[in-house]
């Protein structure tokens, strides 16, 4: 096995990790600010993929432009979900959150089945089948664009958190919601914005997922599990942790696939998660108490 094969494997790891980073970041801010565990987050990714597909097929939009339109639509859907379901049980037993999110999984999947049918789909981008050939490494343009989109989305998200009043209010709410409330922060509004942002990031991840992979109404489950693994690995509530966790997960999975075979990829990645939790229970960048 030559070095180019290993380099190529690392490239796949980064490319795969990127889409999951976006999903995990959304999950993480929702958990960080609202302390809410939403198992239906992957279904927002699925809806994002379908809406992007619909905009490209029905209106002939460029797939990447369609993602830009999809994000606010899914954000509004996220607001509706937050206001109609999670807001009503926030602060009550955690089991209530879990059962609501499990119920939402079934609702989203069946609505998607009714609207878009049972056949798998894939979003055709303007770069479909175009390959960037770098001597020993070839990679599709769509993968490169996906990495760029994820970096841009994370930079924009980072600026929003660090440089805007809303971002500061989100950070304050994340640290101590009652204190933030006493300082005049409308935490219900912050919860709504947080959920909308998380949903928009999931929609962006969904659009990119649908360009790279085929998808159907059932694709939400696995990315959610991986998303949770990534944020636990990186540290609950930490955006930096989600990025590092996503890359580590993707690279560990692909290296295990290369050296041990495809059936070991996920097993080794999740074993890494267990090892990290044993050595550092709060995750790599986690804050004590999360």
């Amino acid at each position: 096995m030559d070095i180019s094969t290993i380099i190529l494997t690392l490239v796949w790891g980064v490319a795969i990790g990127c889409v999951y980073i976006l999903l995990a970041t959304g999950l993480n801010i929702i958990f960080g600010v609202m302390k809410l565990v939403n198992f239906a987050h992957g279904q927002l990714l699925m809806i994002g993929a379908y809406l992007t597909w619909t905009l490209t097929v029905t209106f002939g939009l460029n797939a990447y432009l369609a993602i830009v339109f999809t994000m606010p639509i899914v954000a509004v859907l996220g607001i509706a979900v937050e206001r109609l379901t999670f807001r009503r049980i926030l602060g009550t037993d955690k089991l209530n959150e879990i059962f609501i999110s499990l119920g939402l999984i079934y609702i989203f999947e069946n609505v998607a089945l009714l609207i878009w049918g049972d056949r798998s789909k894939q979003i055709i981008s303007p770069f479909n089948n175009m390959i960037l050939d770098l001597s020993s490494i070839s990679i599709t343009y769509d993968r490169v664009v996906a990495v760029v989109v994820v970096v841009l989305a994370l930079v924009a998200f980072g600026l929003l958190i660090k440089k805007t009043k809303i971002g500061l209010a989100m950070q304050a709410t994340s640290q101590k919601d009652t204190a933030a409330q006493l300082m005049g922060v409308n935490i219900e509004k912050i919860y709504m914005i947080t959920f909308a942002l998380g949903a928009a990031l999931a929609a962006c991840a969904g659009g990119l997922y649908g360009i790279i992979f085929s998808f159907n109404y059932q694709i939400g489950a696995m990315p959610t599990i991986i998303g949770f693994a990534i944020i636990i690995l990186g540290g609950l509530g930490s955006i930096k942790g989600a990025i590092v966790g996503g890359l580590l997960y993707g690279i560990a999975e692909q290296l295990a696939t290369l050296f041990l075979g495809g059936i070991w990829g996920s097993a080794v990645a999740f074993a890494l998660l267990i090892v990290v939790l044993i050595v550092r229970p709060k995750g790599i960048f986690g804050v004590k108490g999360e």
């Binding site: 190529l8 494997t9 798998s120 992979f213 692909q254 495809g262 097993a267």
Partner: protein, 454 residues
């Protein structure tokens, strides 16, 4: 009083006339014939195809009067009992079948999609002696796991082996089996591709397969035929987690072994992704074979122009128009008219199975399960949507127990740019029983094909 008497007489006359008229009209129903469709209806796109095809067959049979049951002296309609196995995992595939079978709600079962789920739920039919025509699962163990099939090569004490010979006799396999998949691919590679790309060395065939009953079944069968026929083919093997979505690293590992062709064993929603990742991401410019369950609209639409000159195994092609078989054209027309979507191959085979069941019940003359089992075993019908090596539908009673010896063939895909669609043409074998001009074109290597090397 007279009026009252007159009214009674009139009522009596009407009643007697009604009874007489009912006697004159051929009776259509003593009771319904309850056929259970075992399919992942809510959990797998291919299950929907099976469900639609089953409903189409039932509607056609019932519209023609139903099934004649001699013991009743009457025609009876079929009542379709949908048995939804959700995602068809062994955990979900058993309970729904158990519920319907043990409550006595089904006379016969048709369907069975995934091999793992079907191997689990057929045990219910075996234990309760209910005839079960399996139309989806391709693992040969489905009918060979009993004494008649020499336990499929397993020990009789193996957990998968069934020692109840009588129970096993209720299971019938109306579809291709993994041994057919393996044989078709290795024979095609040896007869057609090897002389073109590797005349002076062993042909290098890679197999990339799901690590489940379906994938390992095809892998074992492929290896079996290479060894049994002593073919000059070197097999490069690679398994992956069925839940995986990315395959570049596995394909990269395969590419390191310089294959002449790659056989992919997965379903229509995954196989196109694997081919695309192989050709575009990894840059492995070779011939990719998709196994026959990919004969589905999803496969064609997801693969798109990337599929140009790639290969698809087939047991039936419901998309050809004009077709190599008139029956397929009729099925395609009726299916699209009924559902406004294109049919897939699993549905086509399931559709056939209802007519096989009808024929068996009519010959048995009763719904007695042992009699229906005997009639199924004696089936001798002309081939329908699925073509066979003899041109007839007959269930084997030898070592290939209760299989129908399906003829699996090879199609090459061509991208039709003006029509913006992928089309398939038969390239191998040259002939098939009862079909003139079976082979439609010659196999050609893809434009950018790079042959493997040791």
């Amino acid at each position: 009083m007279q009026k009252k008497l007159l009214a009674i007489v009139v009522v009596l006359i009407i009643a007697v006339s009604a009874v007489a008229a009912w006697q004159l009209v051929p009776q259509t129903s003593a009771r319904e014939i309850r056929i259970g469709l075992v399919a992942p209806i809510s959990g797998q796109p291919l299950g929907q195809d099976m469900s639609r095809a089953a409903q189409l067959a039932v509607d056609e049979i019932n519209a023609a009067g139903g099934i004649y049951v001699a013991a009743w002296g009457a025609y009876a309609p079929i009542k379709l009992i949908s048995i939804d196995t959700v995602d068809d995992s062994p955990g979900n595939a058993v309970t729904p079948v158990k519920r319907e079978v043990e409550s006595g709600n089904v006379d016969l079962l048709i369907g069975g999609y995934g091999s793992a789920g079907t191997l689990a739920n057929e045990v219910i039919a075996i234990d309760n002696k209910v005839p079960y025509i399996i139309t989806g699962a391709s693992n040969a163990l489905v009918t060979r796991r009993g004494p008649q099939g020499n336990y499929g090569g397993l020990s009789s004490t193996d957990s998968q082996a069934i020692t109840d010979a009588d129970g096993m006799s209720y299971i019938f396999h109306y579809c291709t089996v993994t041994y057919d998949y393996g044989k078709t691919v290795v024979d095609f590679c040896n007869e057609v591709m090897k002389p073109m790309v590797a005349p002076d060395r062993d042909f290098r065939l890679a197999i990339l397969y799901r690590n489940d009953a379906f994938g390992t079944g095809v892998e074992k069968a492929t290896k079996y035929w290479i060894e049994t026929e002593n073919l000059p083919i070197m097999l490069i093997e690679r398994a992956y987690d069925p839940k995986a979505t990315t395959y570049q690293t596995d394909i990269t590992a395969i590419a390191d072994n310089n294959p002449d062709a790659v056989l992919i064993v997965d379903n229509p929603d995954k196989t196109p992704t694997i081919i695309k990742q192989g050709l575009n991401d990894v840059g492995l410019k070779t011939v990719y074979f998709a196994v026959e369950n990919n004969q589905d609209p999803t496969f064609y639409s997801l693969l798109g122009s990337t599929g140009d000159k790639q290969m698809l195994e087939a047991k039936s092609d419901p998309f050809q128009n004009p077709s190599y078989l008139p029956a397929i054209q009729t099925y395609l027309m009726n299916f699209t008219e009924a559902y406004d979507v294109m049919p897939g191959v699993n549905g086509a085979v399931t559709y056939d199975a209802f007519f096989i069941a009808k024929d068996a019940i009519e010959r048995a003359g009763t719904l007695d399960k042992a009699a229906v089992r005997d009639a199924l075993e004696a089936t001798n019908l002309p081939q329908s949507l699925l073509i066979t090596k003899t041109g007839r539908i007959q269930f084997d009673t030898g070592i290939n127990y209760h299989e129908i010896n399906a003829l699996t063939f090879m199609e090459q895909l061509t991208w039709n740019a003006p029509m913006d669609t992928l089309r398939a043409q038969i390239v191998w074998p040259a002939t098939a029983p009862g079909i003139s001009n079976f082979k439609q074109t010659d196999f050609v290597l893809p434009d950018n094909y790079v042959a493997g090397h040791p």
